[in-house]
Symmetry: C2
Subunit: 167 residues, 2 copies
């Protein structure tokens, strides 16, 4: 897999994209979120080549979203379980699903519907402001340099129109 070191950019989107890497990685995560644990389950449900699957599972383990756990001793067999950070990726998948439901479903409607067991209703993901709870729309949001923006890049960044609003 070609790697571009987005992980080092001062941008949480780029750092997340670095992990996604290619088409398959988010779908392996989707599969894990659907409850798949074993290599053969991922393989059968995704119809993915074994080499590619091995590579993507290893990457997700390296990155801490999946944990590789021994479930059988002879022969040794492992399963792949979501970690906290892997489970925490579900809202991203749910937001992606809603975009796809809206813009890629055609006239037939969504192929899959989520049910929120807590409230009992068929639902979909809505992305809201963590403070006021209103839907987060592009036109209402501005960006500011955060505490983790590298010092050596700050001066240059302060000139960028995207961060100018705070000056």
């Amino acid at each position: 897999m070609k790697r571009t070191p987005f992980a080092s950019w001062p941008c949480s989107i780029a750092r997340t994209v670095d992990l996604l890497g290619d088409w398959w990685t988010p779908l392996v995560l989707r599969e894990a979120s659907y409850g798949s644990k074993r290599f053969g389950e991922f393989e059968a449900n995704l119809k993915i080549g074994r080499n590619i699957l091995t590579q993507r599972l290893n990457r997700l383990v390296e990155e801490g979203l999946l944990e590789r756990v021994l479930y059988q001793e002879r022969p040794e067999r492992y399963e792949y379980l979501l970690t906290d950070s892997g489970r925490d990726f579900f809202p991203v998948l749910a937001a992606m699903a809603h975009w796809g439901d809206t813009w890629r479903s055609g006239n037939e409607g969504p192929p899959v519907v989520m049910r929120h067991q807590s409230c009992g209703h068929a639902t979909h993901a809505e992305v809201v402001c963590a403070h006021c709870g209103e839907p987060l729309k592009l036109e209402d949001v501005t960006s500011e340099l955060g505490p983790g923006y590298p010092q050596r890049l700050r001066e240059k960044a302060e000139q960028m129109p995207r961060f100018a609003a705070q000056q």
Copy 2:
């Protein structure tokens, strides 16, 4: 670019992933969401090769997330503007940003902070149930076949554990 036809899968995540395609595409979208419009702006801000950028911009135009608009006649110059579906991708980027803020920021904290101009507060994306407004967590969500799930695949899908809850 190698293409795997995820667009035809009965899954809105796969259909969205098909669009993302590689590391660069979501970052070109991020850049457009930050206000970049012209080829040179994308190029300078992303430090991306011209061939790769051309390819990704064309793909986003084909897919309807960007619109290519003439802004100067001699010589002809175009800019790339977000369409409704492109703007509607912002919540997905915001959800990705929050995951990255949480799991990829280290001790320094987030590199960039969003401010919600509507309420005036520094904020982040929260993904909630569109019905009850509670945070959408993996363990509270089940999946059901939706109206757009292809008839010819329904019988097989109904056997899958992920869709079994509704039987």
